[in-house]
């Protein structure tokens, strides 16, 4: 029931007081006024508004115009309005205005006229009339809203926005203000004023309970986001989409709204119970609320039948994140769509978006899995050709050329008309090239040229064919092809590289003079080319190889100075140094590295350079200068744990301090100055007030003392200092080497948890350090000691495969071998121990351990003779390593026993007991006990 009906019903009682003006004589007597009015109002309530209007007009024609009939005039206008006859409604309301200019409904009538004009599309009049009502507090909000609609209809957006800003500029308190805010947000978005649109949207969502139709509001929010997205305002689009509610939340909000309305009905009923006279006022209100509930329930039911809006919103979020270069977030969102929504049109674009984002964040393995999934689920999907191409491209990105090759071949077969066919053919060649399979790479490149002779990568392919010959070691072929390339592409993009490679081919052919001439010509032809450092390094090599070392040195120096990569820079710098050392020119070595320090004072190689300067000075007998230089350098960097070459300098300084000065040849022995105490000298050299506050500096000074003790062969003292570092300093104060040393010390003492803290720090903060091996080995060892073999194996395997350990490769290899053995993986263990035992440089305790373990493996397999041979190798070949010798004797004796060679077993036990060095080992007691058991005790 509308409010109009309610009020009309209330007017009924008033008519009993009206006087009838009477009917003309001879006419059929009309019904009495009260009856006529009741009938008219019945028509009104039945929704027959036109009939009601004419009936009421007939009534007013019969009555005197008095204040009592004022409601009837109003109802006539309302009836025409409800009948949709706006011109008549306007006319009726104007009659009301003429007869009751100050009537109680005068304001409502003015509003009704304005609204009728609006609905009649008389927008100009409507806007003006609504504006006039802005100051009526009761009508202000609706007037502003309709005014805005009138302006909008005439495309006066700025005027509409002004009206809406008056309506929704402050806090939203009413449904009309909420409607106004929603419209305003759209206008802002249309105008590209993202900040204001989003601020309005935020206000709307803070008062979401005021929204009549949350579903519609949500759709508008998404639409707003789309507007921003289409204008490439991705940040604003993202913010708008974030305001959109997922399906579950909309259902919850709508249910909350229905519940609120139901509560209002109950509250009204309670009020009626308390005061029955309220029924006249509250019954129609409740009816209206019920209508609202029915509408809300209908909307909700329809919404629930629709597919979920959530994945569509997420998809948009994902795209915004991607465009904003927040690729990880794009991965999260797209993955969520795939995980949560097993069906729906969003899956395909989400999966595709996920693949792109994963490739961008360098997650090739995950990207490959998703590519495979795409081609399984959407074989003919709109992005299938791209995904097919990406499959191989991502494998290449992952450094898996073999996999890439397989994928590319598969896609060429599965999608022969792929739009990416040309790129796939090109990358297929690159995959083989990367894999070092040059003959096949050449074949693949030739296929490309056959199919796409004028393809975008034709020049590149031609050049790569030439490079393939070069890298395959076919220098003559390479030279021919490179010369061919140079001839065909005189302005080619690979011309500088081609000419450099030609010179490399000539160097391989020992044509040094030609190389020199070519490199000099290259520099003239390509001055300032970033490859110059490399070319000069080759020129230096050519001079050096043709015994023109004096010419090579300055060229190497120029090379390091112009190099654009650390690799070339270091190569040339140290190549120059090597030649100077060979010539015994230590002054120049010092000068070379001094020049480097001057040129690149912030380069990480500076500390190494200073090491060499010190070495050069020491070589020239300038020990004090060398010490001073080393000490000054150490003090400069001593409190920075990231400068991991400081320890190298500390070792150097310790060496200088223990080095005895050569007495001057002409000095008499009696007057030779006494040698200073190395410890005191080290303290003096490293003393600095600045170092007293720094934990890193203090720890390094202890390390310097430990190094001194090591050089002086005082292992107890050395261990004491390392123990002090492990005990007194936090991991974050230590450099990579000290973290490793402290960790190793603690592991040796069985303090695994404390050690793990040092190794973790090393692993987390210095992943690129040369000392990183310590972490992998230490953490693997801790896991091994805790019998978590799977974890131990992971660390040891990462140590060999992921970080390519060098410092601790022996320990890591041994760790891996012993872990395989502990896991019962005998084949793997055997292979690993054999490998350790075969490395000549590792000969020593690691070999003894490995050979003994190989015996253990054979014993596990019941191959006692074979096992025994290994054990015998240990106690014969590695006598220096007593613990292994003792173990090997016992194991050998037991092997003899297993082989029923009792006498040999007894002899072996006796041999152990005869070795005095083994008397203190527990194996000695075990040997005695075995002898007794064999009946051969003493």
């Amino acid at each position: 029931m509308s409010r109009l009906v309610r009020q009309a019903a209330l007017f009924c009682g008033l008519l009993f007081f009206l006087g009838d003006v009477g009917s003309a004589p001879g006419e059929e007597a009309p019904p009495d006024l009260a009856t006529a009015h009741a009938q008219a109002m019945a028509e009104f309530q039945a929704g027959n508004f036109a009939k009601a209007a004419t009936d009421l007009e007939a009534i007013v024609a019969r009555v005197e115009v008095t204040p009592q009939v004022e409601p009837i005039f109003y109802t006539i206008g309302s009836a025409y309005f409800n009948a949709g006859d706006y011109p008549k409604a306007i006319a009726a309301f104007k009659i009301y205005q003429a007869k009751f200019p100050k009537g109680p409904r005068a304001a409502g009538v003015a509003f009704a006229i304005a609204q009728s004009n609006l609905l009649s599309k008389n927008f100009k009049e409507a806007a003006g009339q609504m504006a006039a009502l802005e100051n009526d507090p009761a009508l202000r909000e609706q007037a502003l809203l309709f005014e805005a609609e009138a302006f909008k209809a005439t495309n006066k957006i700025d005027d509409a926005m002004r009206a809406l800003e008056k309506l929704a500029g402050q806090d939203l308190q009413t449904n009309d203000a909420m409607r106004g805010a929603t419209m305003l947000a759209q206008f802002y978005a249309q105008k590209g004023d993202g900040a204001k649109a989003l601020a309005t949207l935020e206000k709307i969502h803070q008062k979401i309970a005021l929204a009549d139709n949350i579903i519609e509001l949500n759709a508008l929010t998404v639409d707003l986001g789309d507007k921003f997205y289409n204008k490439q305002q991705f940040k604003e689009a993202l913010a708008a989409y974030r305001y959109a509610y997922p399906r579950e939340q909309i259902i919850q909000l709508q249910n909350n709204r229905i519940a609120r309305m139901q509560r209002r009905i109950e509250e009204n009923l309670a009020a009626v119970r308390a005061n029955p006279s309220e029924i006249v006022r509250l019954a129609p209100v409740n009816n209206q609320i019920k209508e609202g509930i029915a509408n809300a329930q209908k909307l909700l039911a329809e919404f629930e039948k629709l597919p979920s809006i959530t994945p569509a919103i997420y998809l948009r979020l994902g795209r915004c994140f991607y465009e904003l270069d927040r690729k990880w977030e794009a991965v999260v969102v797209n993955q969520e769509i795939l995980d949560r929504f097993k069906e729906g049109p969003e899956r395909e674009p989400a999966l595709f978006g996920l693949i792109l984002a994963l490739a961008d964040v360098n997650q090739p393995k995950r990207a490959l899995e998703r590519c495979e999934q795409y081609l399984r689920e959407f074989k003919s999907g709109p992005n299938a050709p791209t995904v097919g191409y990406l499959l191989g491209a991502v494998a290449l990105q992952a450094g898996d050329p073999q996999g890439a090759e397989n994928y590319f071949n598969r896609i060429l077969e599965a999608q022969p008309k792929s739009t990416f066919r040309e790129q796939i053919r090109y990358l297929l060649g690159n995959a083989k090239f990367m894999a070092g399979n040059y003959p096949e790479a050449v074949a693949a490149y030739k296929n490309y040229l056959k199919e796409f002779p004028k393809g975008a990568s034709a020049e590149d392919v031609n050049y790569r064919i030439a490079l393939s010959a070069l890298f395959a070691g076919k220098y003559q072929d390479a030279m021919n092809q490179l010369q061919d390339y140079v001839a065909k592409h005189p302005s080619g993009s690979f011309l500088p590289d081609a000419k450099y490679r030609l010179a490399v081919c000539k160097y391989a052919a020992s044509l040094y003079d030609e190389v020199i001439a070519d490199c000099q010509a290259w520099e003239k032809q390509f001055p300032g080319n970033p490859q110059l450092g490399e070319v000069l390094a080759l020129l230096g090599d050519a001079y050096a190889a043709s015994d023109r070392e004096n010419a090579a040195i300055p060229v190497y120096i120029r090379s390091y100075q112009t190099a654009t990569t650390d690799e070339v820079m270091n190569y040339s710098l140290f190549a120059a140094s090597k030649l100077l050392q060979k010539a015994g020119d230590w002054d120049k070595v010092s000068e070379l590295f001094s020049g480097f320090v001057k040129d690149k004072p912030d380069h990480p190689t500076v500390v190494s350079a200073l090491f060499w300067i010190g070495k050069a000075k020491a070589h020239d007998g300038k020990i004090d200068e060398a010490k001073q230089l080393a000490a000054e350098t150490i003090k400069k960097y001593i409190d920075d744990p990231k400068r991991d070459a400081v320890e190298q300098l500390i070792t150097q300084l310790a060496q200088f301090c223990v080095k005895k000065k050569r007495p001057a040849e002409d000095a008499p022995a009696a007057v030779a100055a006494p040698e200073p105490d190395p410890g005191a000298e080290l303290d003096r050299l490293l003393a600095s007030p600045a170092n007293e506050e720094s934990g890193t500096a203090k720890a390094r000074i202890l390390f310097a003392k430990a190094e001194l003790a090591r050089l002086q062969r005082r292992p107890d003292e050395e261990e004491k200092y390392i123990a002090q570092i492990a005990a007194d300093f936090k991991p974050e104060e230590l450099s990579p080497l000290l973290l490793g040393e402290a960790g190793d010390y603690l592991v040796a003492k069985g303090k695994f948890d404390q050690a793990a803290g040092f190794y973790q720090r090393l692993q987390d903060d210095f992943p690129k350090s040369h000392m990183i091996d310590y972490a992998y080995n230490g953490l693997g060892e801790i896991a091994f000691q805790k019998k978590d073999y799977a974890k131990a194996l992971r660390y040891f395997a990462d140590g060999t495969e992921k970080i390519a350990a060098a410092q601790k490769l022996k320990d890591i290899s041994l760790g891996q071998a012993k872990t395989y053995f502990a896991l019962g993986k005998l084949d793997e263990a055997q292979k690993a121990f054999e490998q350790v035992a075969s490395v000549r440089e590792w000969r020593g305790e690691a070999t003894a351990f490995s050979v003994y373990s190989l015996g253990q493996i054979a014993a596990k397999r019941g191959k006692w003779a074979e096992a025994n041979a290994y054990y015998q190798r240990v106690y014969v070949g590695y006598q220096k390593f007593l613990p292994w010798v003792a173990k090997a004797y016992i194991a050998s004796g037991q092997s003899f026993e297993k082989l029923n060679k009792v006498q040999e077993a007894a002899n072996t036990y006796r041999e152990l007991l005869r070795n005095e060095k083994l008397a203190g080992f527990s194996e000695a007691a075990e040997a005695r006990s075995r002898l007794a058991a064999l009946g051969q005790g003493s």
Binding site: S2, R3, L4, Q7, S78, F81, N82, R105, G108, F111, A112, Q115, L118, L119, A138, L139, Q142, E149, R242, E248, E267, L317, F321, W328, E329, V331, V332, V333, Q335, E336, Q363, R366, K642, E732, Q763, D764, D765, P767, D788, K791
Partner: protein, 276 residues
């Protein structure tokens, strides 16, 4: 335009005076009877209610099993403690909530009590103070006694830190995944993703950790309490992935957006140590 029908005039807005939550602790019996009390206490199986009759007052006892609910007002500490936790002040949070937990302890079996949500906050405070053992024990107690599945899930998540410490990652992930699958409460879900990130971080599975942590700012950005740990965790994971730029960005977002959180302080220290 949506004006199918003229709605003239204006609606009288009824300003209903909302009754503020009763300070009294009404006992609702299973019979439907309500007893207005001025306070309750527990003694054995009985709940004693202080009632006012005329000018005098006395205590009336009811078997706990006959009570449908006691209308306890919501303790304000639930909000203040949560705010203290969000500021990274677990010690103060613990002091704030302790009395509430203690007060409701005897009413744990009576519907309407606030023990479980208060105890859950205590668990968070204990966790923040690195008292994981105590947190786990209390979490376990909540899980066993609560009838609210969401509270049980939140309590279950408190086990994760201990499992990570024991390197029982599989079990820890199972708990997180079950909560993520079953929960409908945003703050519980946000916590579950943070914990899941922690599990991956401990295993140095950087990419999985990043993906888990980022669920929080992406999908639960209103759960402010969980954004700082998610940002800090993601920064560490990015660092593990050697994406230093992104790691710095996460740390900067954390210090700028949540400067007073405990994690912001750690972030500032970690930023200092980042290569320039």
């Amino acid at each position: 335009m949506h004006h199918s029908r003229f709605t003239f005039g204006f609606v009288l807005v009824l300003l209903l005076v909302l009754v503020s939550p009763a300070r009294a602790q009404n006992i609702l019996l299973k019979t439907g009877q309500t007893i207005a009390t001025k306070g309750v206490r527990r003694t054995g199986d009985m709940v004693m209610g202080k009632v006012q009759v005329g000018a005098s007052s006395g205590e009336v006892g009811y078997q706990a099993s006959t009570i449908a609910k006691i209308e306890f007002p919501e303790p304000p500490q639930l909000k203040t403690t949560a705010a203290l936790l969000a500021q990274g002040l677990p010690n103060k949070a613990l002091a704030d909530i302790e009395a509430v937990v203690k007060y409701y302890e005897p009413f744990r079996d009576v519907p309407g009590n606030w023990w479980a949500p208060a105890a859950l906050l205590k668990v968070s405070a204990l966790g923040g103070m690195q008292l994981d053992k105590q947190a786990e024990m209390l979490g376990d107690e909540i899980r066993k006694s609560t009838t609210d599945p969401e509270t049980a899930r939140a309590a279950q998540l408190q086990l994760v830190a201990g499992l990570v410490r024991k390197e029982n990652y599989e079990k820890a992930l199972q708990i997180c995944d079950a909560v993520i699958k079953e929960s409908a409460r945003q703050e519980v879900l946000a916590e579950a993703w943070v914990k899941k990130g922690d599990v991956f971080l401990a295993q140095r599975e950087w990419d999985s950790a990043v993906l888990a942590y980022l669920h929080v700012p992406v999908f639960y950005e209103d759960e402010k309490q969980w954004i700082p740990p998610a940002l800090l965790g993601s920064a560490r994971a990015f660092r593990g992935l050697e994406d230093l730029e992104r790691a710095k960005k996460s740390l900067n977002d954390l210090t700028a957006g949540y400067p007073k959180s405990a994690q912001a302080e750690i972030a500032r220290a970690e930023l200092q140590k980042m290569p320039k």
